[in-house]
């Protein structure tokens, strides 16, 4: 049985159908890439899985349980964490406190949360930043903080929304390394990313959305040769330059 199963997921905003009858599943232990041109509905999918929005129609099952319609904090308790494409740091708090608060909801007290936070901070390599205010970070570090905070909620499934957007070449390499490391530590990952080369490198499988619909699914090699995918990206600025 897959870890996460999404069936006929649909989201409408007024007259606009942002996601239309999308189905896919995520197996335990894999890294699934989710790609598609701008406005394809990727973030909206994440929002529904993570409980930030209710689906208009469709089902979401996690580890055999229906989770659609639950609130975001309940989903977090179930073991799913997400990062935000547009980063949402707690600006007036330190990096350490950002991570620690994420750990708090799963710990019995502050000292346990501190321990988890320290581990996650070491794991993600943001040691030097721990005392800094989250509002002072560069975009690259903010993206890493997003990942660290998600990890601190001790998830089994991690949803990463463009964790490499805005990073420079060296930072992208570090991010790839980190994602592989997270995956190796036993966590399942779904990642949205526009940087194709990076995505190909980390994903076991890829799902492609365009204009709200799923148009393809398969291994990275198969996807890169898929006619429908290439057509969907035509006319759009191709992001695979890096």
């Amino acid at each position: 049985m897959p870890m996460l199963q999404v069936k006929d997921l649909t989201k409408q905003f007024g007259g606009l159908t942002a996601v239309s009858k999308v189905s896919f599943s995520v197996n335990e232990g894999e890294v699934l890439g989710l790609i598609g041109p701008n406005g394809a509905g990727k973030t909206t999918c994440f929002n529904m899985i993570a409980g930030a929005m209710n689906p208009t129609k469709g089902q979401i099952e996690f580890e055999g349980q229906r989770i659609d319609g639950l609130q975001a904090h309940q989903i977090s308790q179930k073991g799913i964490a997400r990062t935000f494409q547009i980063v949402k740091p707690l600006r007036n708090l330190s990096v350490f406190d950002n991570v620690m608060i994420a750990a708090l909801s799963k710990s019995k007290d502050i000292s346990q949360a501190r321990e988890i936070a320290q581990e996650v901070i070491d794991f993600t390599g943001i040691h030097d930043l721990a005392k800094k205010g989250a509002g002072e970070l560069s975009i690259g570090n903010l993206k890493r903080l997003e990942v660290a905070r998600a990890l601190a909620t001790l998830p089994r499934l991690l949803l990463l929304d463009e964790p490499m957007g805005g990073l420079n070449g060296k930072e992208v390499d570090q991010a790839i390394e980190l994602i592989l490391k997270i995956n190796k530590s036993g966590k399942t990952v779904v990642i949205i990313e526009h940087i194709m080369k990076a995505l190909m490198q980390v994903s076991d499988r890829i799902v492609v959305l365009a204009q709200g619909e799923k148009i393809a699914e398969g291994t990275p090699e198969a996807i890169s040769k898929n006619e429908a995918v290439i057509t969907a990206y035509l006319g759009e600025e191709y992001h695979a330059q890096s």
Binding site: S76, F84, P89
Partner: protein, 333 residues
């Protein structure tokens, strides 16, 4: 850290001994107002400063606390509860009764009011307080309408009569210390961190597993309870309440001002704010009568524009910067 603790202990001792040396009634009255102001500020700050939910309706909680207290002391059936413990209605129980009433109201209110956020939350709470005012004016059987409620008997706690400024000084001092301690305890626990997360970014807090709505309601209840304590004390101290006295927008605004001027989102901010604003307004009152509020308003505007972190926040920043400079100088020498 320990030095800080001993400073705090020292100030408490000084405050406890103060009435032995101060015989000037006006000065005692000033201190009472300052302590009351500290509770105002702590109460509002818990929800507005730490949780980021800017309320314009805290007068509602102040008012319910005030009326709850007055009703407890004056109604026959209620005050009997007090008499069990005492020879007459107990003012402490009365204040607690007012606080519990407020908690009940906020529990019901919390489930809907947090549909609103930002300035809309401000408007919604303002409307709720106005509704409270209208109800207090019209529900004559309970509130005695616009005529208000007058306390006839001098309340006493055990053998101590609440008469004269000194006894009120000690009552409000204890209430204030408890309030500050209460807020301090909340803020160093899980709940405090969750409230900060909610203030900084509600959606991020949710994603981090924080049940934001539940904690906002908790913060509202705690904050309202503190306002109710202040309201209860007001009833005892003044001995008379009317709807326009206790449910007025003015009370809500004063709570905001104390916090913002002192330093929003800090434990010491409301303390500083209460001292500065109370002293200033008492001084200016003697010159301008009621129009002293001009100074209040002007100070608020200046603080928001030129030191948005408040007087305490500003001083702390300066102090830290100086310490850093001195430390650097140490290293250099």
């Amino acid at each position: 850290m320990n030095r800080q603790k001993s400073y705090i202990a020292l100030s408490i001792v000084v405050l406890l001994l103060l009435p032995l040396f101060i015989k000037n009634q006006f000065l005692l009255h000033m201190f009472i107002l300052i302590f009351l102001g500290v509770i105002y500020g702590q109460s509002w700050n818990l929800l507005g400063g730490f949780t980021g939910q800017i309320s314009f309706g805290h007068a509602l909680f102040f008012g319910i606390g005030a009326y709850g207290t007055a009703k407890f002391l004056t109604s026959d059936s209620l005050s009997k509860i007090g008499v069990i413990f005492n020879h007459q209605a107990d003012p402490i129980l009365a204040i607690i009764f007012g606080g519990l009433m407020t908690i009940l109201v906020t529990f019901l209110m919390g489930t809907i009011i947090f549909r609103l956020s930002g300035p809309y939350f401000g408007l919604g709470t303002l409307a709720m307080a106005e509704i409270g005012l209208v109800i207090a004016m019209n529900l004559k059987s309970v509130t005695n309408g616009g005529e208000g409620i007058l306390l006839l008997d001098t309340p006493s706690i055990g053998p101590f009569e609440l008469m004269g400024k000194t006894s009120f000084y000690y009552l409000i001092l204890v209430l204030m210390l408890l309030t500050v301690f209460f807020v301090y305890q909340i803020m160093r626990r899980k709940m405090g961190y969750f409230l900060l997360a909610i203030r900084e970014d509600n959606q991020a807090a949710e994603a981090m597993g924080v049940p934001t709505k539940r904690y906002k309601i908790l913060a509202l209840m705690a904050s309202a309870f503190l306002s109710a304590l202040a309201g209860g004390f007001y009833t005892l101290y003044v001995g008379f309440i009317s709807p326009h006295d206790v449910f007025s927008v003015h009370t809500s605004v004063e709570m905001i001002f104390i916090t913002i001027v002192g330093g929003v989102g800090t434990l010491m901010g409301p303390v500083v704010g209460a001292v500065v604003l109370t002293v200033l307004s008492e001084v200016f009152k003697s010159y301008f009568d009621n129009a002293y509020l001009i100074v209040y308003g002007l100070l608020l505007i200046l603080v928001i524009l030129y030191m948005p972190e408040g007087i305490y926040g500003y001083l702390k920043k300066k102090w830290n910067a100086r310490k850093k400079v001195m430390a650097d100088a140490d290293v250099a020498s």
